[in-house]
């Protein structure tokens, strides 16, 4: 009897390869006659290069070529994809840490040594760096897409100010979040290798969207998208930093084309902090108007987000949280951008929702204090059953149960509402909670998968989604095994290669929910192809039968009183395999319903009475993300997301020097992310209730959910412990002294 792996704790299919070091990441690929590239970056934030002396570098041992604005590679930006300029094509300096030259040498050390010999002089201009002082402009979305506006006012209400003025209780609070970095473990790397006549390029480079990354690289190189194949089955973390390729891929490929040999380029850790995008700094102000019993009458959410002049990430922290989380008759947004001469920004994990939820869920805690209500009760009183201002329903929503079950698991009833009232020796103890909400739907575009049934009784599931450590490759295998009704050990899976059918991008927590239907459709197609072979192949025992006479179940074909495993049938008819590629795309339900995943975070924190350091001692997160495909991988995602939130709450900060534009913590020694000692055991519980709308399994996305609201839960717990409300992240001990 075959037990479906669906919903169980399944080890990663590639776990052993990763743990034993046999998994190949981009920089691990070998190539014959390989040359190594190293980047030179700018040391001013704004101006132009007046001169660049590359003579010493060019003459250094092993150096093959030095590329610069004075020896260009001819790249061009692709509108709407990544940064709006191409490096080395002009002498303009747009931020400190911009690529201004690339040295290619026989060996890595030679390239690195020579890069330090490049001498650059600049005509400097005063950089525009202050989020507080530079002009604000209305927020825009991606090119061609209007900025979302979700302002809703009840009939007869003239303005959000009027709605606030008419409220019994008003809470107003302003928040600051500094620049944050994805800081993925794998350095951004590329190996670029052309075929002999330079018509086909292979890029080994980690990507969250393999096909899009290949297409963007092709556009920058001026070749057809079909000329580029991207291979990245293993990716050491994305978190938004591998949505679009940075210019490393195109630079290495262009040099490889000129030099007619493969080129490898691995960024240094310091370069990752400026060449690769970050989450922009953002200031937010929230105003909540409510009745005395805590029922919201008005929500106003204003944001001023830094946006780099070079692009590419626009930030809208208000609309993606405050428009959907609570029932309110009046809600208004003013999302503004402040253009700065800073390194590029990217869509870092829960790009809008993490900062937005920190602000809203902290403000809700302040409203709980102002109204004397328990924070859980306050949220239940403002529970939204339709998208605020509309009658649009969610496909499935059990956030109320997340609150209740979470409170019970965590022991929320032991919380004392009065701040500072629980003391344990040197430590003040507090509890806080917050909501999590993140879109959990499917990609709008068609997503493909291929299922191949093989004569050895195994199946191969293929889809060019990306496995950034999420477990996507394992999910392919689980879904295939479930659909085919065969043991997981008989299913292989592959992802991260544009030679495979175009799969779901690993962005926006959409990959799992989008991949599942495609694999199911491919299973159906492969079984149909198997039956077709069975009735049409002269060697088949079912030759000449009607296909309706055959049924497939659990790896076996049955009909006319006999049955046979598909592997034996394929052997019998002398076929190595049958396969089908299928496409899945959302139907009309996508327009009828709103698809979100939900959660509730509960946090216990201890703050030292003498020295102020906050230490998290317990954390519970209860999640409503539909049916869970792989409980172990899903738990890891949520735990990782919560750790992200803890980092944002307590540690992560890259101060921007307002006179130089230098990021002051641009390395892993100064940019603090949590270590194991900072993280307690995190209790994650899934409601595991299938979504009746989204797909046949009922599985929604959850990759970013843990990051949303977790920082607010930490901050709210710190308030409960100390009575200090810290609205500027990170909440470090100096703010609690």
């Amino acid at each position: 009897m075959t037990v479906s792996p669906l919903g169980r704790d399944i080890d990663r299919v590639d776990g052993r390869a990763k743990a034993t070091g046999t998994a190949r990441y981009s920089a691990d690929y070998p190539a014959a006659n390989l040359a190594h590239a190293y980047l030179v970056t700018s040391t001013i934030a704004r101006g132009t290069i007046s001169a660049m002396d590359t003579t010493a570098a060019q003459n250094a041992p092993g150096v093959i070529r030095v590329y610069s604005p004075f020896n260009k590679l001819g790249l061009r930006p692709v509108p709407g994809a990544g940064e709006n300029y191409a490096p080395l094509e002009d002498t303009q300096i747009r931020f400190r840490g911009q690529i201004i030259a690339m040295v290619v040498a026989e060996r890595l050390e030679q390239a690195r040594d020579a890069a330090r010999l490049v001498h650059t002089t600049y005509d400097e201009q005063t950089p525009r760096l202050s989020l507080a002082d530079e002009p604000r402009v209305p927020a825009t979305g991606p090119p061609g897409v209007p900025a979302p506006s979700a302002t809703v006012l009840a009939p007869g209400v003239p303005s959000i100010e009027a709605a606030l003025a008419a409220s019994d209780v008003v809470v107003e609070a302003s928040f600051h979040q500094p620049m944050q970095h994805p800081a993925a473990m794998e350095l951004h790397s590329v190996l670029a290798e052309w075929n002999s006549d330079q018509t086909q390029l292979i890029l080994y480079s980690g990507a969250q969207l393999p096909h899009t990354s290949a297409m963007v690289a092709a556009g920058r190189l001026g070749v057809a998208p079909t000329a580029v194949r991207l291979i990245a089955p293993y990716v050491g973390g994305g978190f938004g930093s591998r949505v679009f390729p940075w210019y490393d891929a195109a630079l290495a490929a262009a040099a490889a084309r000129q030099l007619n040999r493969p080129v490898k380029l691995v960024l240094s850790r310091e370069q990752v902090f400026t060449v690769v995008g970050h989450r922009s700094a953002v200031n937010q102000t929230i105003k909540l108007g409510a009745s005395r019993d805590g029922v919201l009458n008005a929500v106003s959410h204003v944001s001023d987000a830094a946006v780099p002049f070079v692009g590419y990430r626009w930030m809208q922290p208000a609309v993606d949280v405050s428009a959907v989380l609570y029932k309110t008759p009046n809600v208004a947004f003013d999302q503004r951008h402040v253009m700065l001469d800073v390194p590029p920004a990217c869509a870092m994990r829960a790009p809008n929702e993490a900062p937005g939820a920190f602000a809203l869920e902290t403000a809700m805690d302040e409203l709980a204090v102002a109204t004397g209500l328990d924070p859980v009760e306050l949220r239940l009183r403002n529970y939204a059953t339709t998208v605020p201002g509309t009658d649009r329903r969610w496909s499935s929503k059990h956030l109320d149960d997340c609150y209740r079950i979470g409170a019970q698991r965590f022991g929320w009833s032991a919380r004392r509402a009065r701040p500072g009232s629980r003391v344990d020796g040197q430590w003040l103890v507090g509890m806080g909670m917050a909501s999590a909400i993140y879109p959990g739907g499917r990609r709008p575009e068609p997503i493909q998968a291929r299922v191949q049934l093989r004569d050895d009784g195994t199946a191969l599931v293929s889809s060019a989604t990306a496995d950034t450590g999420t477990g996507a490759t394992t999910l392919l295998a689980i879904t295939g095994a479930h659909g085919l009704g065969i043991p997981l050990r008989r299913v292989r899976s592959e992802a991260g290669d544009t030679a495979l059918p175009q799969g779901a991008p690993s962005v926006g927590s959409t990959a799992a929910a989008s991949t599942v239907p495609a694999v199911e459709a491919a299973v159906e197609g492969a079984v149909a192809a198997l039956i077709q072979e069975a009735v049409s192949n002269p060697l088949s025992p079912w030759h000449g039968a009607n296909s309706e006479e055959l049924t497939y179940e659990k790896g076996q074909l049955r009909g006319r009183g006999q049955s046979m495993p598909f592997g034996r049938l394929l052997t019998t008819i002398d076929r190595r395999n049958v396969e089908a590629t299928a496409t899945a795309q959302p139907g009309p339900e996508a327009g009828e319903y709103k698809f979100h995943s939900f959660g509730a975070h509960f946090c216990e924190v201890r703050v030292n009475r003498y020295t102020g350091e906050p230490r998290i001692t317990r954390f519970t997160t209860v999640v409503d993300a539909g049916r869970i495909v792989n409980a172990q991988a899903a738990r890891s995602q949520l735990v990782g997301g919560v750790i992200f939130g803890i980092g944002h709450a307590l540690l992560e900060d890259d101060p921007l020097e307002l006179d130089t534009g230098r990021v002051a913590a641009g390395n892993m020694a100064d940019y603090m992310v949590p270590v194991n000692a900072d993280i307690p055991a995190i209790d994650v519980h899934f409601l595991d209730r299938p979504d009746p709308v989204i797909n046949s399994l009922g599985a929604r996305g959850l990759g970013e959910l843990g990051t949303v609201g977790s920082a607010a839960a930490v901050g709210n717990a710190i308030f409960n412990a100390t009575g200090k409300r810290i609205r500027s992240l990170p909440i470090t001990l100096d703010k609690l002294l």
């Binding site: 050390e109 102020g612 350091e613 020694a669 949590p674």
Partner: protein, 325 residues
């Protein structure tokens, strides 16, 4: 990294033979290799001293002797150290990571360079790295920088935890060079930056740390090292306190106290020590004794919290020590 010559001598005399200003001694390599990769340190010669006989952790009537090449992890695990000098073991175990402690040597620990981000970034001015180029930290991001012993030329914090504990305990450091050996107190081994922040100690070119001696005392066994930082592990101190007390019942007969994370060198606090001598171990006494701990401090734009944090760190350490009696 640039090209350099590399030798692995077996004897001290051989190691010191041609050592000069262009020579770097390699022990654990946990600081040196980092800084070479960053182009901050560019020696022409690297002498691997790991084969030299500068080993041993021994306890005798004079005190605790530790060879310069002993690894941090080995010293922290030593039974005698843990029993008679607990703050040394604690300071070591609160440093770096397990992997680094397995490599890093005691001599190297005492000579590790500051973690000032400007010192480590060759694209910025830094008087310590490039004398006369200016101090970026004075007007830059300086939350982790020093408030004591600073000058207009340099505000870099001394990074070692171990050195703070050793300075509190009156440790001697033994130096060896081609001219012979000499012994200096660790407290005066380190120099203040003044106008020459590139000079950090009295070590002469071609001179090596051979080992240290921590004297026997009535207080070392009753000691604690408390380290305060944002992250619970793998981070340098915002403040730290090394506190050792000789008790007479509930009364402090005498105390030895030094602070880390606040000074340009490990910062001994004699005024706090004398204010505690002969006093009962009460919260009021602690508060009064530490009130002058940060006298003379020069806070910068981002580290104005450090004087208060230093005082609280000291009170907390004293409280922990008193409660463990």
């Amino acid at each position: 990294m640039r090209a350099y010559t590399f030798t692995q001598p077996r004897g001290v005399r051989e190691a010191l033979a041609d050592a000069g200003t262009d020579t770097a001694f390699l022990a654990g390599g946990t600081t040196l290799v980092d800084l070479m990769k960053l182009d901050v340190v560019t020696p022409a010669r690297v002498v691997d001293i790991n084969r030299l006989p500068l080993r041993g952790i021994t306890l005798d009537r004079d005190g605790l002797h530790i060879g310069a090449l002993e690894r941090m992890s080995d010293v922290a695990a030593d039974r005698n150290v843990r029993r008679d000098y607990p703050m040394i073991a604690q300071a070591l175990e609160l440093s770096a990571s397990a992997q680094l402690r397995n490599m890093a040597s005691i001599g190297g620990n005492l000579l590790q360079r500051t973690r000032c981000g400007y010192f480590r970034d060759v694209t910025t001015p830094c008087n310590k790295r490039e004398p006369g180029s200016g101090c970026s930290a004075l007007t830059g991001i300086n939350r982790t920088h020093a408030i004591l012993g600073t000058s207009d030329a340099c505000v870099a914090t001394h990074p070692s935890d171990l050195a703070v504990a050793l300075v509190a305990l009156g440790t001697d450091v033994h130096l060896v060079s081609g001219q012979g050996t000499r012994t200096v107190p660790l407290d005066t081994f380190y120099t203040l930056p003044g106008s020459t922040p590139h000079l950090e100690n009295v070590l002469r070119p071609g001179e090596l740390i051979a080992g240290i001696t921590v004297p026997r005392s009535m207080w070392a066994a009753n000691s604690v090292y408390l380290k305060i930082r944002d992250r619970q592990s793998y981070e340098f101190a915002l403040t730290s306190a090394a506190v050792a007390v000789e008790w007479r019942g509930r009364t402090i007969r005498q105390a030895r106290i030094a602070a880390g994370g606040v000074g340009t060198k490990p910062w001994r606090l004699p005024a706090v020590e004398s204010a505690l001598a002969g006093q009962p171990a009460t919260a009021d006494v602690f508060e009064a004794a530490v009130s002058a701990a940060a006298d003379g401090a020069r806070p910068l734009s981002h580290n104005g919290f450090k004087p208060a944090l230093l005082r609280r760190t000291l009170v907390r350490a004293l409280t922990v020590l008193a409660e463990s009696r």
